[in-house]
């Protein structure tokens, strides 16, 4: 049984989510290269526990590598997860755009609000990939945007374990980092960590930033709730005022009744604002938190790469010593050992290259990240302030309209 829920494309609703290139129009042919994606039309499919939401993903592009100017496919949440994991694996050092979380609360999973939030977040996710100069070249992205559903399903089920970085795994990595630090403090062993003070500073910054942002996001979420609650109280109060008005009668009764009606009107307004606040203020904050968490994953990757490089360097040193020994004794094992040594050398150089690449990419990414976040938050703040200002003005106007009659009654 299909339930069709119609939403507009996020690119129309949220102006902050800019897509790649300068124009949305697919018709500017010889113009700038563009890759513009819409995640739309969430549809509930399947039954019971197996039920899930599918999305219509519409791609408009003039990139030569793509099959055509427009392509529409159907995707579900786990397809997005697949894409994210592939990109994370291939583009080490890049801050992969974050995905909205899996919903753990069953009954919330299909609420209209949740579905809309998720759709918006997925749209932003995929467009951020499309506007990243490296990621937009990804073959996996092309597969995601163009492959038919059977192919997608096949690919999706293949990737298990290796590429999936579960939160538990990340936690493990972080814990290892922490134990290493404490090992040093206790004088246990030499830590295989970068001794780069700037990088240390960055790591601390990221970890602390997450804490601060989470707190802000928590309060933003509560603020949404408060709007809803105040709306409810106004509605109840309005009803009570109307009843009291009916009891009193005459001018006073009319005054109470008018007050009650206004109160109910404002209640509706507050509920609307609560929704806006959720979509345009709380969600961007949440998105910010997710982005920081994604960076933590990249930090873990870098640590891995560094350790790998160090291990290989250690191993090579030993192999060198061994080789010299063998050469001195003119052993017949020299040839073998030389080969091994060459292989290891190549591997080590590869590891070093990979690590240094990560460092380079990260340095670029951090600049991009800070710029992007200032932009994203600037928009979010603007919408928040505008929303609050509009709300307050609406409230003032509504109450003010009662004054002439009240004045008349009292004179």
């Amino acid at each position: 049984m299909i339930t069709v829920v119609n939403y507009q494309s996020a690119t129309l609703l949220s102006p902050q989510r800019s897509s790649s290139g300068s124009s949305h129009s697919p018709r500017s042919s010889s113009s700038q290269p563009y890759l513009s994606i819409s995640v739309t039309e969430p549809v509930k499919l399947g039954n019971g526990v197996q039920a899930y939401i599918s999305y219509r993903v519409i791609t408009k592009t003039n990139f030569p590598e793509y099959q055509g100017p427009e392509k529409i496919v159907i995707r579900r949440y786990s397809d997005f997860v697949w894409l994210r994991d592939r990109l994370f694996e291939k583009y080490k050092g890049v801050f992969i755009p974050p995905l909205p979380e899996k919903s753990t609360v069953e009954k919330f999973r299909f609420s209209a609000e949740f579905i809309e939030l998720r759709r918006q977040a997925l749209d932003i996710f995929v467009n951020r990939i499309a506007s990243h100069h490296e990621l937009q070249q990804s073959e996996d992205l092309r597969t995601f945007l163009q492959a038919d559903e059977e192919t997608m399903e096949r690919l999706r089920s293949q990737e298990t374990g290796i590429f999936k970085k579960k939160p538990a795994d990340l936690m493990q990595i972080f814990k290892e980092m922490q134990t290493r630090v404490s090992d040093v403090v206790l004088g246990k062993e030499k830590p295989v960590e970068e001794s780069n003070p700037e990088y240390e500073k960055l790591k601390n910054y990221i970890f602390e930033l997450e804490n601060h942002l989470s707190e802000a996001q928590k309060h933003a979420y509560r603020l949404v709730k408060r709007h809803k609650e105040l709306g409810q109280s106004l509605s109840d109060f309005g009803k009570a005022a109307k009843l009291l008005g009916a009891c009193e009668g005459h001018a006073l009764g009319k005054a109470f009744s008018d007050l009650g009606t206004k109160s109910e009107t404002l209640s509706v307004r507050l509920q609307k604002e609560a929704h806006q606040l959720l979509m345009n203020f709380e969600e961007p904050l949440k998105d910010y938190v997710r982005a920081v968490q994604s960076i933590k994953a990249t930090i873990a990757e870098r640590a891995n790469a560094f350790r790998h490089q160090c291990e290989l360097a250690e191993t090579i040193k030993l192999k060198e010593i061994n080789l010299d020994k063998l050469m001195l004794t003119r052993s017949d094992k020299v040839g073998e050992a030389e080969l091994e040594y060459k292989e290891l050398k190549a591997e080590s150089e590869e590891a070093t290259r990979r690590f240094e690449n990560i460092v380079r990419v990260m340095n670029e990414e951090i600049v991009r990240f800070q710029d992007q976040k200032t932009q994203d938050m600037g928009i979010a703040f603007h919408q928040f302030a505008k929303g609050q200002s509009r709300l307050a003005n609406n409230i003032a106007d509504a109450w003010r309209s009662l004054l002439p009659k009240l004045e008349a009654c009292l004179s």
């Binding site: 309060h219 408060r226 109840d236 302030a385 003032a396």
Partner: protein, 569 residues
């Protein structure tokens, strides 16, 4: 004169509010602790909040929520002198530029405390407000300075019972009082006595209900919080009494407010000792047949042991009434009255409902303010963090944006708190009138018990007449007269005469009470309409004023961040 007073208090406010501004965490915790669950807790929290951060808090400066008489008018009148250059078409709350961040009511209280405002008769008449009185007389009562005292006599326990006395200060220009300012010390028991005596003397009036006796252990009685609550309640009660056009002139109240030393009103225990007389009378009443109810006694409803026989009789009568016995003649306009009674009942229900919803509205506003403040604080921390750690300019720009948002959020949070403090005071009118329903009940029950007394006397009279007739008929059959019967007839005739007198008095009393009911109902209606209209106006003005302030605060931030939207399109 008024202006300079206000200026001083304004300066004091600025001083207090600057401290407030520095200490951003403010009073949130104390509000939280006082329980956002219960409105009465909230109200006491609001009043203690007002007390704590106002340096001019004198012992008697209970914030206006304890003074229902003064709620609407000072709010309105106060703003007039301050809004000299205001361009808006209506009066608005203190404007942002006045930098008055502390609760508004302090100004109002200061204005009234000790400032003669002859034009404004805010405490003179009416249940709550100035609405009808045009005269300039006033009675201003304050309750302060609670002190512990020892029970001097009859104390079984050495160093025995302590009780609390309160200093009751009255300021008035009504003639007939000794001087214009006087103080006495009274304890709660005295207030109970006053209340009981007033209930006896002013049957049919809507007498403001006194504060509850609290049956708690003596330990709690001594606690400061309890004492303070009681002080506030006493002040409210006395002010309401003084606000009642008839009761304020009563001897009982005068005596209570003026006479030093022991309160010279018969206490309820004295009345109870009359019960002993009653108990002595009882056997005679039960076995002797012709003991009439003395006329002077019918002025009070039957109660207590002395009136046992009367209680039996009246009970019998009320049962007869209920079962549709002989229709008592005294019922004409009952229908009209019953209609009014029903309306009062309906009103009470709606008031109760509205009062409840008002509480939840207040809670909603309070929560909004709190969360907004917390959000602001979180962003301030973020701002500090980004600034300290900033490597890129984009971070500094972001930090600046966050700071604007944070500052606005904190300001908005304060405005919500102030809005709420005012909302509490305005909507308090609902609670006040709900409380007043108690006195309406009392007045109506005075009426029904008076009616019952009349009806009882009437049926007693008719049965007495019947017996007299029978005796005369029997006696006339005996030639030469029947000495004993004749004597009995004489006695009976005497009883009838006394009972006629009593009936006459009782009817007079009933009529009096009916008239009191009527005039009080009319007064209640009039004053309630005025008070409610004022409440609505005050509430609405308050909402408008603060909504505008909040809108301005956010409009500024929207302006400051408008560059971002231009960039992205």
């Amino acid at each position: 004169m008024m202006g300079s007073e206000n200026l001083d208090s304004e300066e004091a406010h600025m001083y207090a509010s600057r401290e407030e501004m520095e200490n951003l965490v403010l009073d949130e915790p104390s509000n939280n602790n006082n329980g956002t669950k219960s409105f009465s807790d909230y109200r006491s929290a609001m009043s203690s909040l007002a007390d704590t951060h106002h340096p001019l808090s004198s012992p008697m400066a209970a914030p206006a929520d304890s003074d229902p008489l003064l709620t609407p008018p000072p709010f309105r009148d106060f703003r007039n002198p301050n809004v000299a250059t205001d361009n808006s078409s209506y009066i608005e709350p203190p404007s942002y530029s006045d930098v008055i961040f502390s609760p508004f009511d302090e100004n109002a209280v200061n204005e009234i405390n000790g400032v003669d405002s002859p034009g404004r008769s805010s405490d003179s008449s009416g249940f709550l407000s100035k609405s009808t009185s045009s005269s300039s007389d006033y009675v201003k009562i304050t309750v302060s300075n609670p002190q512990k005292e020892q029970e001097t006599s009859n104390s079984l326990v050495p160093g025995g019972n302590t009780y609390v006395t309160y200093l009751i200060t009255t300021r008035t220009n009504i003639p007939g009082h000794n001087g214009s300012e006087f103080s006495v010390r009274r304890r709660f028991k005295d207030v109970v006595t006053l209340s009981d005596r007033l209930a006896e003397s002013y049957r049919g009036f809507f007498i403001p209900p006194r504060p509850d006796k609290n049956v708690v252990e003596s330990q709690v009685m001594q606690k400061q919080e309890f004492v303070e609550q009681r002080r506030v309640a006493l002040e409210k009660y006395l002010r309401r009494l003084a606000g009642h056009p008839v009761i304020r002139k009563s001897d009982e109240l005068k005596v209570f407010l003026q006479v030093q030393g022991k309160l010279p009103l018969p206490t309820s225990t004295d009345v109870a000792s009359r019960m002993l007389d009653g108990a002595v009378k009882l056997p005679k009443q039960l076995f002797g047949e012709s003991v009439a109810v003395a006329p002077h006694e019918v002025v009070q409803p039957a109660k207590g042991a002395r009136d046992l026989l009367r209680i039996f009789k009246e009970l019998k009568q009320s049962m007869a009434n209920d079962w549709g016995g002989s229709k008592p003649p005294v019922v004409e306009e009952d229908k009209e009255f019953l209609k009014k009674k029903e309306r009062m009942h309906d009103l009470e229900q709606q008031l109760s409902n509205a009062s409840q919803q008002a509480e939840s509205l207040v809670k909603g506003q309070q929560d909004m303010g709190e969360t907004m403040g917390e959000l602001g604080l979180a962003f301030i921390k973020l701002t500090k963090f980004e600034n300290e750690e900033a490597i890129f300019n984009s971070q500094r720009a972001r930090a600046a944006d966050m700071k604007n948002v944070a500052t606005a959020a904190v300001k908005a949070s304060r405005f919500y708190r102030e809005l709420n403090a005012q909302t509490v005071k305005h909507l308090d009118t609902l609670h006040e009138y709900l409380g007043l329903m108690l006195s309406v009940h009392g007045a109506f029950s005075d009426r029904s018990s008076a009616l019952l007394t009349v009806q009882t006397l009437i049926s007693e009279l008719s049965s007495l007449h019947l017996r007299a007739e029978k005796l005369e008929a029997a006696s006339s059959k005996i030639f030469g007269g029947d000495r004993s019967r004749i004597r009995k007839i004489e006695e009976l005739k005497e009883t009838i005469r006394v009972t006629e007198d009593a009936k006459h008095v009782a009817t007079g009393e009933y009529e009096r009470i009916k008239e009191n009911n009527r005039s009080e109902l009319e007064r209640l209606g009039r004053e309630r309409r005025a008070d409610f209209l004022n409440m609505l106006k005050g509430f609405v003005l308050n909402q408008v004023g603060y909504a505008e302030k909040i809108a301005n605060v956010w409009a500024k931030v929207a302006e400051e961040t408008s560059a971002y939207t231009r960039e992205s399109t």
